[in-house]
Amino acid sequence: MRGESVFPQLEQLLPLISKPIQYVGGELGAVVKPWESATVRWVLSYPDAYEVGLPNQGVQILYEVLNERADVLAERTYAVWPDLEKLMREHDVPQFTVDAHRAVGDFDLFGLSFSTELGYTNMLTELSLAKIPLIAADRDDSHPIVVAGGHAAFNPEPIADFIDAAVLGDGEEAVLEITDIVAAWKREGSPGGRDEILLRLARTESVYVPRFYDVDYLPDGRIQRVVPNRPGVPFRVHKRTTMDLDAWPYPKKPLVPLAETVHERFAVEIFRGCTRGCRFCQAGMITRPVRERSITTVAQMVHDGLEFSGFTEVGLLSLSSADHSEIGDICSGLADQYEGTNVSLSLPSTRVDAFNIDLAQELARNGRRTGLTFAPEGGSERIRKVINKMVTEEDLIRTVTTAYSNGWRQVKLYFMCGLPTETDEDVLQIARLAHNVIKSGRQATGSKDIRCTVSIGGFVPKPHTPFQWAAMERPEVIDARLKALKNEINSDRSLGRAIGFRYHDGEPSLIEGLLARGDRRVGAVIRKVWEEGGRFDGWSEHFSYRRWVDAAAEVLPGFGVDLDWFTTREREQAEVLPWDHLDSGLDKDWLWQDWQDALTEYEQDDCRWTPCFDCGVCPSMDTQIQIGPTGHKLLPITPVNTGLRVPAGA
């Protein structure tokens, strides 16, 4: 029977595997509804291990938004580790939800949120365990409609064969609209089956249904064109933008897991979008414009979320939290309210700006001092102009020295390697910068007891950014530069001892690059890798570069292309990119101009405090910048301890 619990079968397997608690649910905030009470049933997944997937904000928000509707039920599923996957196959236990342990294949809609492309193989595991055909074209009316979302959905072409639909942009309103369309279709008796419901969704112009588009290729392997193959299907699909975040104060009831997860805190998104214009940053490009949550809503969410969850840590999240127009008042107001309690407040990695030290000081008033992280991203002044990270060396030294003088013993610095136009010298400059940080810090504090950690990530060019045309650097070059950098840092032993060095090898980045800018032909590589055992590719201990390279070498030559063609090849202006029919609002001509500006090291300001530079988003999406200040202040009161909260009626 549909909707029946598979827990009795699963329960037999749980004593045989590691960390069974991650599969039993029982979180605070979890919702279990009777199967028959709902017209439309969603299963949502973040296709990674429970410990990573559970804290995901996107899934938590959609879960709550959907479950607030009486005629809808939403449950969650996560990727199972290989030990359980093996047993599930042996004992014929299907992919299940953690809420009511229902079979994923029983639901109407299966929504997957991808914040990284490395989750694609896990999606195939989930589909296969759910007994849903891997290829969308092989599914019938009994199977759920598989919908992809999240940042990676801005180029879903590599997974076009496996998904039925993709939604670009903010999900809060989109899931409700999809729900309404599916509910109406079901009430009519599901006329026309799967094809008809997908067509209805496609006609909204904000749901992308890959099967309704044909891709033609040129003899040299480039795309000739992507065109709809059905009447009524739009040429371009547009992203969704939720305006007025104060009207969507989710999560209100954050999920509190029993199992240990990667983030054990209540996170409040203080604004969405970013117009700093860092050219490598896909998030900053596809989430425009900036929409702030007001200081009063933020404070209310913090209060309610802490009371509901019992968390003692609050993260004030966004793409660049110090940029909120009232961040000073938010930090001091919250610090006042929670002074003397055991609640700790934190801002994620921040811009290089001494103002951030003041904020961090405010938040540390409560005793617990969180780490300070700055992201100059590029080692040389020149490369920082290329990526539009407007930070001078002087800014950095002043900021970090202020941090040391104010009692921080350790700061973290983030950089990237493999950026467009980068030379060995640009990377070696990171060592000089780190040396200067330590020297100035020692001078300012008169102490040798200060440290910094240099953390390096590999650059991956992403769709809908000015760097979408850029060539990737080869992994051997990246690894050689990192090795040289390490030697350079340690060339001065006294300074080198105070500098920690963390980095990722170039190989995983290359594969991420293949998946990020791939087209439909890459789907065969993903499938091959999965068949060869590829799982949890975001985990270094599970990722196999060899497996990806071999699969690409086997599959891609049949299409007249190869791994290099997708990764280390620079694209020209006229080339049709696989995601050109997916509209993020950004004007392609503006992106190209910004790419040219990058190459000539010309910087671009932020439209929040300089005139509009016509990136194209606001007019094409009918949106506008929403920022304060509102002028409101938080009342300087400490929450009164009201004693035991005994539930009414108990």
Binding site: G26, L28, E307, L644
Partner: protein, 266 residues
């Protein structure tokens, strides 16, 4: 250890009341590990507004101490912990507030203010367990139990953090009995039999857990459930833990605090 010069200024409020609680770990949430439960109870304490006291120092910890916890995967009706509070509460209200703040399946059952001397751990010398064995018939189990009882020593092996260890399971077993099963447990596949074992095990070092006794039954009598079951899918529940009396009963460790006078007279 005394205060060092590096201690932060000011202090945490002192403990004015100690409350001891009994709680259960039931159904699917029996897979909660001890670490998981420790985090859950901390959050429940915050949610419920319990005036918990904190330790001194740079990273103050809430004053919670646990008595011996059941292994992950084993259900329990009798787990115990003690809270140090900076303000007095009614134990009954505490039970209601904490129970409401925990996930269903982690259920707070009882609380008393600590009066009598001695810690909870001092009062726990044995546990009573009930083990359901899907795929094992009553006769099979009865024969295995008889063989086990007849031995003076039953050595088993288990992987511990220190590596593979061999130890005796017979001596720690104060009572062992095959209970006649009438019905299959929920979720049992088809008409598979499901024998039930009733077990009283003394607290010893290294600890002897219900699964060690099952290993012992396998050693002495080749006890193996019929496929697809395995001994590892046995469902164990701790029914009680406390002081084992000469009569073979287990006294709830909260009893002593309920009637401090009686303890004094003993």
């Amino acid at each position: 250890m005394g205060r060092t010069k590096n201690q932060p200024e000011g202090g945490q409020a002192p403990v004015v009341q100690r409350v001891r609680l009994r709680y259960a770990k039931r159904g699917p949430l029996r897979f909660t590990s001890h670490r998981d439960f420790a985090r859950a109870i901390e959050r429940a304490i915050h949610r419920a507004g319990v005036p918990i006291a904190f330790s001194q120092g740079f990273t103050p910890h809430p004053k919670i101490s646990f008595a011996s916890a059941a292994p992950t995967g084993v259900a329990s009706e009798a787990e115990y912990l003690e809270l140090g509070l900076r303000a007095r509460v009614e134990p009954e209200a505490l039970v209601k507030a904490l129970d409401a703040a925990l996930s269903p399946g982690l259920d707070v059952l009882d609380a008393v203010e600590a009066h009598a001397p001695g810690s909870l751990a001092d009062r726990i010398t044995a546990s009573r367990w009930r083990v359901e064995l899907p795929g094992v018939s009553d006769e099979q189990l009865a024969a295995a139990v008889a063989a086990f009882v007849a031995q003076g020593e039953v050595l088993v092996e288990r992987m511990t953090k220190q590596g593979r260890r061999t130890f005796d399971t017979r001596d720690a077993v104060a009572a062992i009995e095959a209970v006649s099963s009438q019905t299959s447990p929920p979720g049992a596949v088809g008409a598979a039999p499901c024998a039930i074992l009733d077990l009283v095990v003394r607290q010893v070092t290294p600890s002897v857990r219900p699964d060690d006794v099952l290993s012992g039954l396998r050693v002495v009598a080749d006890l193996e459930p019929s496929a697809p079951h395995s001994l590892r899918s046995a469902r164990a529940t701790r029914l009680a833990q406390g002081t084992l009396t000469p009569q073979g009963e287990i006294v709830d460790p909260l009893e002593a605090d309920r009637d401090p006078v009686a303890i004094g007279e003993r």
